[in-house]
Symmetry: C2
Subunit: 253 residues, 2 copies
C-alpha cells in the first residue's frame, strides 16, 4: 500500500515519522509545499486552493490513502479534499481530538497557528463532546523551530508568554501544529503535569484501521521549493530515517 | 506619475511610507504577495518567478517606475526584472549601499533574511567600493515584528543573539529587510553608536532623480491574499496614512 502525505512544508515530517514507526513496510510519498509555506497565515480560500493542488499531485501517484499532515489544511480543507479524492482522506484534527478525549477530565487546551486556532476546528469538535476548550495561537513557535531554537531562554520566555494563561485551566494540551512536538520539553517546563497530545502520533494510530503494512518500505519526499536550510531541518525532524529525497521545484508553475 | 511598488508582503509598506513622504502628489500602487510571503526562505529561481509575476501585474497598471521593495527580490531578480520591464526598475540594495558608503569609515554590517544574506548582493556591491563587510541573517526578526513584539525582553535577547558578534566590528549597519526599521530602537540598544541605514528611506531618495511629484496623490494597495492580521500590521507600519485598501485575493490563480 502507498500512503500519501502532504503538508505546507517540512513540519509534516513529524507525521511521516510517526506513520513509519507503526508501518515499516508501506510505501510513503510526502509532498511539502515549501514554495508557499506557511499556510498558517493565509485566508481559508487560499488554504483550500493550495490543499487541492497538493492532493492532486499525490493522487496522481497512485496512493491508497491521503493524509493531511498540516493542521491548517486539516482545519479548512477536509470537506473539499474528501469530495475531490477517490481514496480515504485523514486529517490531523479528529485523531488529535479523539486522543485528547481519552485522557482529559474535561478541560482541553489547543495551541496552533493563527489560522488553525481561528478556524475553530479543534474547539468545535472538542465542545461537541462536552469538553471545555482553551485555544491559543503561538505564531512564533514555528520560526523558533525552523531557527533551531528548540530550548533555551528565548524559547522558554516565548512559551511562557503564550502558555502561562492556560496554567491551572487545562489538564490536557493538544499540539495543533506539526512543528510543536519539537518544543515538547519547553512546553512541559511551562505547563508541568499536563498531558500532551501529539497529533502526529494520533494520526498514525488512526491509520491502523485503514492501512495494511505491506509494500517496499520506500519513502519518497517531494518539495515544491528548495527551502534554504531544508536538509538541516529534515535532519532535525527525522534524525534517524534514511530517506530518498526527491526535490521537485516546479510542481505548481 | 504613477509609482509601482511590490513586496513579498506587508514589509514594503515602510518603503511606500518613505516614498509618500518625499512625493505627496504622485499616484502609488502597491502589491503585496501575501499569498506567498515570505520570499526570504525560497530558492533563487522561485523568487525570480514570483517577482516577475508581481511586476507583470503592476506594469499592467500603467506605472512609470517599478520599485522592488523586497530585499530578497531585489537581491535575486533585478536583472530579470530590468529585462522584463519597459519602465525603470529600482531595487533597495543599491540605494542602501550608496547611503551606507556616505556614512561609513569602511566597516559596514548588513542584516537581512537568510536568502538576502546568502545572495551576497549587498556584500558584493559594498566590497566593490572597498568596504569591509560583515553580514548576518536574522530570520526571527520578521516573525517578531509580525507578532507585534517590537520591544521587550524577548526581542532584545533575539537581537543580542544575532547582533552581538557585529559589535566593535562595524561603524554602519544596513537594515536589509523592510521589516527591520520597526526594530530600530532595539537594534540601537544592542549596537549603540552605530549609524543605521534604513533602505526604505534610501530608495525614496533614489527616486528624486526619476520621479516628478505630480499626480492625484492616490494610494492603492493590492494583496494576493487576505493575511490573517493584515489590517493590524498595516496600521503598525503606516500608522499615519489614510489609504484606500483594495484586496484582491486571486491575482495569481
Amino acid at each position: 500500500m502507498r500512503v500519501g502525505i502532504f503538508d505546507s512544508g517540512v513540519g509534516g515530517l513529524t507525521v511521516l515519522g510517526a506513520i513509519r514507526k507503526l508501518f515499516p513496510q508501506v510505501d510513503i510519498v510526502y509532498l511539502g509545499d515549501t514554495a508557499r509555506v506557511p499556510y498558517g497565515n493565509r485566508s481559508p480560500e487560499t488554504v483550500v486552493r493550495y490543499s487541492l493542488e497538493c492532493a492532486d499531485f499525490l493522487l496522481g501517484r497512485d496512493i491508497d490513502v491521503l493524509v493531511v499532515a498540516c493542521n491548517t489544511a486539516s482545519s479548512y480543507s477536509l470537506d473539499a479534499l474528501s469530495e475531490f479524492s477517490d481514496v480515504p482522506v485523514v486529517g490531523v484534527v479528529e485523531p488529535g481530538v479523539k486522543e485528547a478525549l481519552r485522557h482529559t477530565e474535561g478541560r482541553v487546551g489547543v495551541i496552533g497557528t493563527r489560522a488553525t486556532v481561528k478556524s475553530g476546528s479543534y474547539q468545535r469538535l472538542l465542545r461537541s463532546f462536552g469538553a471545555q476548550v482553551f485555544a491559543k495561537s503561538c505564531p512564533l513557535f514555528v520560526p523558533l523551530v525552523e531557527e533551531g531554537l528548540l530550548e533555551g531562554e528565548i524559547t522558554e520566555r516565548v512559551a511562557r508568554m503564550y502558555l502561562e494563561e492556560l496554567k491551572g485551566k487545562i489538564d490536557t494540551l493538544i499540539l495543533g501544529c506539526t512543528h510543536y512536538p519539537l518544543l515538547k520539553p519547553v512546553i512541559r517546563k511551562v505547563l508541568d503535569g499536563i498531558h500532551i497530545v501529539d497529533s502526529s502520533e494520533a494520526v498514525a494510530k488512526e491509520l491502523l484501521d485503514i492501512v495494511e503494512d505491506e509494500g517496499s518500505g520506500a519513502t519518497e519526499l517531494f518539495f515544491t521549493d528548495n527551502y534554504q536550510n531544508l536538509e538541516e531541518i529534515i535532519e532535525r525532524i527525522l534524525p534517524y530515517q534514511k530517506l530518498s529525497v526527491n526535490f521537485n521545484k516546479a510542481l505548481f508553475p
